[in-house]
């Protein structure tokens, strides 16, 4: 495989998402909602946040960066996951917000951490277990109500009490994808939010609050 072309930092607003699914979700949401100005990339997993953030300072164009948004998953240990990102920011000598959705500014750079699932946290500033799957699940359950009883039956049958919230949400979303996307029942999460797949309509009002929030973040780039 040829070596990848080194990645430029071409804008003053950077979003670092935990995984490719998160990255594609933000990218697709911005595309369909006409939100511009962000460079969106993935850290390639929770364990790679530190390396990714530590490397940022040395990246050509870092001096022009005004906004850094880090997006991580709460999974089943929201506090730990949030603190892991804070520690990664600290190791990278970057400003560390005290809470999710709370901007912190040092010199010319504002840093914000968004933890998924965002809706609960954004609305009440409380934290909820889960990940991107948790964000997408209520939408898909609501829109494809006909499939819901089947998923519910299967989920109950194979046992959901002994699984964590995060595992259950992933399980259920996977079932919906397999049921609804016949062309490829194994469709990766990174493709699920793609407009071309017609599985998730990111123009739906369910995503409006978050899109609005992203749009407002652009104010930090001024």
């Amino acid at each position: 495989m040829p070596p990848a072309v080194p990645s430029l930092l071409a804008t003053n607003a950077l979003v670092v998402a935990e995984g490719n699914g998160d990255k594609q979700f933000i990218e697709n949401l911005c595309a369909v909602r006409g939100i511009g100005g962000f460079q969106i990339e993935e850290a390639r997993g929770n364990a790679k946040f530190e390396t990714h953030l530590k490397g940022l300072r040395d990246r050509t164009g870092f001096d022009n960066l005004r906004l850094l948004v880090v997006i991580g998953d709460n999974d089943d240990t929201p506090g730990d996951r949030f603190n892991h990102i804070r520690k990664s920011l600290k190791a990278a000598a970057l400003p560390q917000p005290n809470d999710p959705f709370t901007p912190v500014k040092r010199d010319n750079l504002t840093v914000i951490i968004i933890m998924l699932p965002y809706t609960y946290a954004a609305a009440s500033r409380t934290v909820a277990k889960g990940c991107l799957d948790t964000v997408l699940l209520p939408y898909i359950e609501n829109r494809h109500g006909a499939v819901l009883p089947c998923v519910e039956t299967y989920h109950t049958c194979v046992g959901k009490a002994d699984r964590t919230k995060n595992q259950n949400d992933k399980f259920r979303l996977r079932c919906f994808i397999a049921a609804l996307f016949r062309e490829d029942p194994n469709l990766a999460l990174s493709w699920v939010t793609s407009p071309g797949k017609n599985l998730i309509d990111l123009n739906d009002q369910y995503f409006t609050e978050f899109a609005q929030y992203l749009m407002e973040l652009q104010g930090f780039t001024a």
Binding site: P3, P6, L9, K48, T51, G55, R57, D58, R59, T60
Partner: protein
């Protein structure tokens, strides 16, 4: 080993301070960002004669010491115009460095206004169009002693006076034809029976080579190699550019123990498949000979290959980025290049 460098008003640097230099220092940056100028500043400060400035000009594509001045002040000063930041000849150049033994060395280049010099030789002095130029002065200070060298024109030839204290610095660049110098250096090593580690290191990478030696070919002394596959010894210039560059660098290291090797465009000549082994060999040989490297490169592949090797050698390295801001260039030491490269970030 150089630890700190301070450069004022030299070429594109108004005021640059680099501290805590390491064994291996790799400079990246866009074309015109000052990478080569940084190497030139170090080379000039370590030198002992203004003749080195003329050599640097020659490597940049200007004429060497065989000049054709037009007999005007502008013509004389044109030789040194680009030595000064923003061509401001009234602001002296100053290059200071401190090495790991806390020894300091300073080079100051200026036109001292109190000193005047007639460009023309004595028999021309009464001519009506006579004018006065100030000679440029290169003043080196080292070991508590300062020696000034003026660049004078006598009998329409530039003349240089030197300083007897040279810091061991070698400049290697694809722009320089190093053939004769390398042959001479190898011969010096050979006379002192010090070629064995060099030959061993080269043969570890190129086992097909049977011998390396200096031969006279059509009157030129050239470094030649032989292998079982060749019926005659061949000058290294006729071999691959990778082998030529590798041998040149290895000879420069061997002949310069405890010194500094400046390498411009380090990556040039090396084939990607052999790059890792070549760099491993150069790094190990530098450590064996206590040689420091300050090198420039444009190649991301080169940096990707080099950083893990340097990490394995004990993290004794810096990655620096030269950046141009208007007419001024700055050099930044990258804080965590390994993370940046691992994340495939553009750092050049």
């Amino acid at each position: 080993m150089l630890k700190n460098i301070e450069i004022k008003n030299f070429r594109c640097f108004r005021d640059l301070y680099l501290h805590d230099l390491k064994r291996f220092n790799i400079v990246v940056g866009e074309s015109g960002s000052g990478k080569t100028a940084l190497l030139e500043a170090i080379f000039l400060a370590g030198a002992a004669s203004p003749e080195i400035w003329m050599r640097l000009r020659q490597w940049r594509g200007f004429a060497g010491t065989n000049l054709r001045l037009t007999g005007s002040r502008v013509s004389y000063e044109g030789l040194f115009r680009d030595i000064f930041f923003n061509f401001e000849k009234r602001k002296p150049v100053r290059i200071d460095f401190t090495d790991s033994d806390a020894k300091t060395r300073t080079l100051k280049i200026s036109y001292p206004s109190q000193e005047k010099y007639s460009q023309f030789s004595s028999q021309d002095r009464n001519q009506e169009n006579e004018f006065i130029v100030e000679p440029i002065v290169f003043a080196w200070r080292s070991k508590g002693r300062e020696q000034k060298a003026r660049v004078e024109i006598k009998d329409h030839q530039l003349s240089f006076r030197g300083f007897n204290n040279v810091y061991p610095i070698w400049f290697s660049s694809p722009m320089i034809n190093e053939g004769t110098t390398i042959a001479q250096s190898f011969s010096e090593l050979s006379v002192r029976k010090r070629t064995e580690p060099l030959i061993k290191a080269v043969r570890a990478l190129y086992p097909e080579l049977e011998s390396i030696g200096v031969e006279s070919i059509a009157g030129d002394l050239l470094l030649c190699v032989s292998s079982a596959a060749m019926s005659e010894k061949l000058p290294i210039g006729l071999m691959s550019s990778g082998l030529t560059r590798f041998l040149s660098i290895m000879v420069a290291i061997a002949v310069n123990p405890g010194g500094v090797l400046l390498i411009d465009e380090f990556e040039v000549g090396f084939y990607y498949k052999t790059l890792r082994k070549v760099l491993q060999s150069i790094c190990a040989f530098c450590i064996d000979n206590d040689v420091q490297i300050v090198a420039s490169t444009h190649s991301y592949e080169f940096i990707q290959t080099l950083l893990p090797i340097m990490e394995a050698q004990g993290n004794d390295f810096n990655l620096l980025r030269a950046e141009r801001h208007g007419s001024e260039c700055k050099v930044k030491v990258l804080s965590d290049p390994v993370s940046a490269i691992e994340s495939n970030f553009e750092v050049r």
